[in-house]
Structures are given as structure tokens and as C-alpha cells.
């Protein structure tokens, strides 16, 4: 069957987006593929569609539980029932149930931690895997901004699964990172589908503003003026909350905050309200956006600078998926870079923490390969955050296998941490350099990914000049659609067919 027919039959779309068809054709040809497709162009279709051609299962490694959940639900909504996610959310009972019936599932999502288990790996070995997918493949590379130690073992795992046909997916990866992905997975002959990271319908505007108060005022002004809906990104939960309140009070705008500190029910509701156009503006931390498929987002504002260019691109990439004109603002105050520097350091354990931990190990437990166990409370006593602890545990397990002495382990972990910090700092400097530069913003970004500017864009950036009128709100806000409605009317709206409503 023609690819287009399959697309229509299973997904209801009439045509492919950039890069999708190339990637899918390569896979169906039996070629390993590395696909770098920009955010918002439906990367997941590249393994979903082959699922309906191949006989065996599609195994998808995904680093984020929330992302995995979104993808499972997305397939579910398309009517696909043979989907399962193997992650730490499953109870032992559920896990065993699933593992006994693996061959019944077409799409199996799995977290990298789960792949560490030899028991699960054994189960997977007995399975006919038609395609091995590595989502967010840039996590493999030490040069990537989001390196995950457990991702670096995927090459080995792939080998132990009998080197199945492989698809590596990423949205943003420099050439160096792409090279790393291919090497690490051992797919040297892979077909590379690399579409541009450029999103020509998103104009980029950077503004230097002195001080917090002026920045706040500017956001209020922008949010009033610009066509909505939009997202405003913050690095702090508290500021996201404050701004949402201000927007409601001063701008009479339907705004809500979204961040990891909210409970799950609230997060789902806010996401859905935004998708259904009940909210005009979301004030969010980077926790928001993953898996939000909303076509008509018209603006993104960065109140704080992101930690690296890759994250910036992912975040602004949520705008203008419908192809219409959209704009991304970044507001910068001198000294703003201090916050990302602090964040970078806080994500990694300090030298003192590592020394302390190894002292504990010396007096407490030795290192015995995989059986490395800490007393409960070690994490707390050492003051390790969740992120720090996960990293330390992973590193220790890896190092303990390779190194003979504790001292060696300690030194190589310290070395690793130092390298990571240097890297993160370099990324922040690069971001800063871009903000402070006088060159075309788009050109700089393209060059960062070793791409060249091919054609000039009418509405490009603050340096090249844009016409802000293009992005102005076309009509006045209607505040709170719930205004004066009575509960009875609301309930009737939900439960009665329109012809029954009075």
C-alpha cells in the first residue's frame, strides 16, 4: 500500500510533514535511521506507521515518564489497544502480567532503568522486535545537554537484543552529538534524515530590559498586545504563579500557572483548559509543553533565559505548529545568567558531597558490583537532591564494575562531574553569546547546528527587523466564559444534547 494510504487509514492525515516520509521509507527499507526532526513535526509517526507494516513489536526507549504516558495515550486515542509502558509506575503485579504477554503488544515503551534488569532483558530477547526506537536520542551523548548515564548503555543493550533494526529520534542535536549517537548505538551505516532546525514562521525577538519590575511590566504589556494563546516560561515556580495572578488581575486575561509542584489532577486540567482555548496564557516552568499538541500557540515569552540553545528551540518550537505567523520573545536583564549557573551546579553533586559519600562507603559497605546498596537515608543525610542522587547511583554502579578501588571510583566520578559542569557552563555562555550578539538571531542558531541560511525570511528577528503589527491581537479578550452562568445551566451543557437544552 502507498505510504499516504497507510497514513490516512491509521492516522487520518492526508500528507506527511517534513522529514517524516524520508525517515519512514528508510525504515521500511530495512535501513537503520537517525532522524532529526524539529519539535512539533510528529516524530512519533516515524515508528507508529511502520508498526502497521512490520509483523513484530516496536520497542521504544523513552527517558521521561510523562512523555511515555503521553505517547501511550496518543496511540490509545487512535484506537490502538496493543500499547504498554514498562516503567516504575507499574506495580509488581502489573509488571508480571505485562511481561507474560509481551508478544501481544505492538508498541512497547520502556524506560532506560527497566532495561538494566537482566530479567526483563531476557524476556525481550524472546520477543520478535521489528524496530528498536531510541527517543530523545541526544541523551546518549556526553556532549548533549541532557546526557543520561543509563542511555549510554543502549548500544550494549541493542547488541544483546540481536542488533534489531534501529531508529534514533531527536529534535535538536549538533553534528557532534549526532555522530555520538550513531557510534554509541553501533549503527554506522544509518540513513540520516536531518531536516532544518529552522521554523521560519516563528519570529525571534530579544530585548534587554533593566531590572525585574520593568520586565514584569513589559510582560504585561506584551501579553495584552499580542495575539493569544501564548506561553510564558520562567525558571521559578513562584514567579510563574505571581505572573499568572498579575495577568488575571491587571490584564483581565485567563491565565494559569503550570509547574511540577502542582498535583496531577490540576496539571491535567490546566493543560486541557489551554488546549480547549479556555486559557489564554500559561505561565510555566519547563515542565510544561511536552506532549501538548496545540496548533495555534501564537507567542512564547521567555522571562528567564533557558540553560542552552537546544532547550530554547524546543520551547519556542511549541508556537505556530499550524504554520501561521508566531513570535518568540526573550527578555534579558544583565546578570540573568547567574540563575542558570546556579541551577547547573545544583543539578550535580558537589565535591564535598562526593567525598562524604565515599567516606560512608569506606566505613560502611564495600562495593560489590551490582549489589551496591545504600542504607536508607543516605541520600537525605548527604543532602543529595533527587537528580543528584540518581546520577550518583548510576555512576557508582557503572564505575564499580570497571574500577578496582574505591579511590579510582571517586576520582573518575569527580572527573565526570567536573566535565559536566564545564559543559553546562559552556552551554550557558553560548546562550548568552547569542543573546548579546548583533548578528541575525536565526543565522546564529542555524550556524550553531552547522546549517547555513538558505533564504531570507521576511519576518526574521529583532536584528533584521520585523513588523510587530503582524502579531497584534485581532480582537478584545472575552474574560471568563463562565461569567454569570448558573450551575444548572452548566450541568445541562455537559449532560444534555443541545436540542434538549432550553
Amino acid at each position: 500500500m502507498e505510504l499516504e494510504n497507510l497514513l490516512k487509514k491509521h492516522f487520518g492525515y492526508l500528507s506527511f510533514k517534513t522529514g517524516q516520509k524520508e525517515a519512514i521509507s528508510a525504515i521500511l527499507n530495512g535501513q537503520h535511521t537517525l532522524a532529526m526532526l524539529p519539535t512539533g513535526t510528529g516524530k512519533s509517526l516515524c515508528y507508529q506507521l511502520p508498526g502497521y507494516v512490520f509483523d513484530g513489536s516496536i520497542l521504544i526507549v523513552s527517558p521521561l515518564l510523562s512523555l511515555m504516558q503521553d505517547q501511550v495515550e496518543q496511540l490509545g486515542r487512535l484506537g490502538e489497544k496493543r500499547v504498554v509502558a514498562l516503567n516504575s509506575f507499574l506495580s509488581l503485579e502489573e509488571k508480571n502480567y505485562v511481561l507474560d504477554r509481551l508478544q501481544d503488544y505492538k508498541f512497547i515503551f520502556i524506560s532506560p532503568e527497566m532495561l538494566q534488569s537482566s530479567f526483563i532483558l531476557q524476556k525481550l530477547r524472546n520477543l520478535a522486535i521489528s524496530l528498536f526506537v531510541v527517543d530523545e536520542a541526544h541523551c546518549i551523548s556526553q556532549w548533549g545537554y541532557d546526557f543520561r548515564p543509563d542511555y549510554s548503555k543502549l548500544g550494549e543493550i541493542r547488541k544483546s537484543l540481536g542488533c534489531p533494526l534501529t531508529l534514533a529520534l531527536t529534535a535538536t542535536a549538533t553534528r557532534k552529538v549526532r555522530k555520538d549517537i550513531i557510534q554509541s548505538l553501533g549503527i554506522e551505516d544509518a540513513v540520516k534524515v536531518e531536516s532544518t532546525i529552522d521554523r521560519p514562521n516563528i519570529a525571534i525577538w530579544i530585548e534587554e530590559i533593566e531590572g525585574y519590575q520593568k520586565k514584569t511590566d513589559r510582560v504585561l504589556e506584551l501579553a495584552a498586545k499580542l495575539e493569544k494563546p501564548g506561553i510564558i516560561y520562567f525558571s521559578s515556580k513562584k514567579m510563574a504563579e505571581q505572573m499568572a495572578l498579575l495577568l488575571e488581575e491587571k490584564n483581565n486575561c485567563n491565565a494559569s500557572a503550570y509547574h511540577g509542584g502542582l498535583d496531577q489532577d490540576t496539571r491535567i486540567l490546566i493543560q486541557q483548559q489551554f488546549i480547549h482555548n479556555q486559557l489564554d496564557v500559561i505561565c510555566a516552568t519547563s515542565a510544561f509543553g511536552m506532549g501538548v499538541n496545540k496548533e495555534n500557540i501564537r507567542f512564547i515569552i521567555h522571562f528567564h533565559m533557558p540553560m542552552q540553545i537546544e532547550s530554547y528551540l524546543q520551547e519556542i518550537g511549541r508556537a505556530g505548529r499550524d504554520g501561521l505567523a508566531s513570535i518568540a520573545y526573550l527578555l534579558y536583564s544583565p546578570g540573568d545568567e547567574q540563575l542558570p549557573f546556579q541551577l547547573a551546579e545544583s543539578e550535580l553533586p558537589s565535591e564535598q558531597q562526593i567525598d562524604w559519600l565515599f567516606h560512608e562507603l569506606e566505613i560502611g559497605h564495600g562495593i560489590k558490583g551490582d549489589a551496591l546498596q545504600f542504607n536508607q537515608g543516605t541520600q537525605e543525610r548527604g543532602g543529595f537532591s533527587e537528580v543528584q542522587w540518581r546520577l550518583v547511583e548510576n555512576l557508582l554502579r557503572k564505575e564499580a564494575k570497571e574500577k578496582s578501588s574505591l579511590l579510582d571510583c571517586k576520582e573518575s566520578i569527580k572527573e565526570f562531574v567536573n566535565e559536566r559542569i564545564t559543559m553546562k557552563k559552556k552551554n550557558i555562555y553560548q546562550m548568552l553569546q547569542w543573546i548579546l550578539s548583533n548578528r541575525c538571531r536565526r543565522e546564529f542558531l542555524l550556524n550553531y547546528f552547522e546549517e547555513q541560511v538558505t533564504s531570507r525570511i521576511e519576518q526574521c528577528c529583532d536584528i533584521c527587523g520585523i513588523d510587530e503589527k503582524n502579531y497584534s491581537a485581532s480582537h478584545k479578550l472575552r474574560k471568563n466564559h463562565l461569567g454569570k452562568i448558573e450551575w444548572k445551566e452548566y450541568l445541562a451543557g455537559l449532560l444534555l444534547n443541545s436540542e434538549l437544552r432550553e
Binding site: 494559569s256 486540567l269 463562565l482 448558573e486 455537559l494 449532560l495
Partner: protein, 348 residues
Amino acid sequence: MEWVESVILYCLKKINNERTIYSVYHILKGKKSSQTIQDIHLYSLKRLFGVLEPLARDSFEEIIHCMRDNGWIIEQGEQKYLLSSSGEQRLKNIGIPIFLNGWRYHHVTTIFWERFSLLVQVVSNLINQESSYIPIQKNKKVLFWVKAVLKESHLSRSEIGEKLYEELNECFEDGKGIDPSMIVFRLTGFRQIGLTAQQASKKMNVNVYEYHLTFTNTLHYLIEKIETRGANFPILTHLLKGLELGDELTITARKTWKLLSQGYSIEMIAKNRNLKTSTIEDHLVEFALQIDRFSIDAFVDKELQLEILQIANQAATKQLKLIKEKVSRASYFQIRLVLAKYGDRQWN
């Protein structure tokens, strides 16, 4: 904050200076310790158990200090307070939400809401022939439950929305003093997403805790209505199916009960279960509170029981220490048992 304050005033009045404010806090938070469970029985505060689960400790302390500064309560030292006459008056004027029934419903409130909100969402999308939407509840058991209900109801797509609407309307219209909008605007349906708790509290112009209390009161009203008049509500009655209402023994206490019924002694049970004797004693106090047929005679002889009760009555107190001073031959455990068994009924 009117009702939140009122509920706290009510608790302080009931415990009558015999407990600290933190006992009140634990009651409102729904702490499952034997001390708290005993307190709600002794001071007749069962209805308020767990009705302010989200209340943060510092917010609670702030409210207490605020009420003190307003002169509604008077400090008696060591985190203890009594109501002033203005506090009494205030409590009398405002009262407390009348449908709250924490001890009976607290443990099913969340699942009830999950079922209820999901049922409405599913039905609403069903009648609009929409099959592609994000369920607002992620709890798998609730998702299975809703599927089963739809199958069982044997109603057509066109009927089910109408019927559910009628039942809810009837339910709500009967409720004097409740405001259905507290719940209704939180509901999600076809292309209409409900408000979050925070958004709803803003819409109603009340503080989040006040909103939570009102929301809970309305849910408890609904549960009670369905529980007592289920036959009138063929669809809504499913919301309570399979849920255990009423007094709950903690799971660990259940195991103790089993062994006790088989004739094991306290020490043997403690050894068998690898628990402290004091823990098993806590369980026994729980039984004395909750299980009518549980006799305490084997642990406190009749004579001593009478003595303890008389002292407690004379001193009009439920403070163990005061009673113990006067009946020195009784252990604290024995006093607790007697108060648990007879305390409640005697004073109320």
C-alpha cells in the same frame, strides 16, 4: 475562612482544654493514629475527621493566632485554648457545615470524586459522540469502573445523559444549605474543561481551605443522599458500589483482631506479629471504640471499670493523667480501654 475558623472553634470547645491544638490539627488532617482515633470518639468529633486534609501546619497555626488576636479564644498555656464568650457567640452564629461526615466518608471521598468526575466526563463525551479525549482521571481502577458502569446501565446513548442530569438535579435540589456550584464547575465534559480547586476557590471568592471544606461538605451531602436513598438514583448509586463505607479499622488492627478472636493474648500477638505490646494495646483501644461486641472485661475487671468511670465523671475529664492519679491501681491502658468503651456514650 468563616467555616474553617468555626470548625476549629467547634473542636476546641469539644475538647474543652484537655488536649492541645495539635490534637485538633491531627483530627482535621485525618491522621490515623490511635490517639487521634480515640480523641474523635471521646470528644464526639467523628464528623470532622479528615475534613481539612490539605491544611498546612503553619496555616493552621496562623488561624489559631488570628483567632486569639480577635479575642475568640483564650490561651490556657501549653498550646491549649478555650473559647471566649465572643468565640462562643461566633460559633453559635455561624455553626459548622452540617453534612460533613469525615469518620464515615473521609476514606472514600477521593475515590468518590474520581468516579463522579470521570463518569460525567465520559457520559458527556458519549452523548456528543466524541471518542477521542483525554480522561481527567488516571487511576486505572476508576477507568475500569466507569466502563463497567456504562455496560451495566443498559441505557442508550441518548438516555444516559438525560437520566444522569435528572438524578443530579433531584439530588442537589433537595439539599438545603448546600451550593452545588461548588462541585458542578469543577466538572469536565465534552469540549468543556472543569476548573481546578484553586480556580474554583477564586471564582467563589473564598480562600482555598474554605473552598475545600465546602467542597467536601457538598460531596458528603451527595454521598449521604446516595447511600440513604440509592433506589431513587439508579445511576448515581453505582458511585458507591464496592466501596466500604463506615467505620474502618486500620488494616494492621484487623490482623490483630483476627488473632485476638482466635484466643491469643496481647503478648502472644505482639510476638507473633513482631510488634510492640503498646501497638497491640492501641489496636485494642480501637476495638473498644468501634466494635460493640468487643468486651473489655478480660482486660479490666468490672469493679475497676466502674471506679474509673466514676472518677472520670466526677472530675468531668478525659485526661488520663488526672484519672490515673485517683485510681492508681489502674494502668494507663486500662483507663484508655474503659474511656474508649464507655466514654462516648456516657457524655453524649
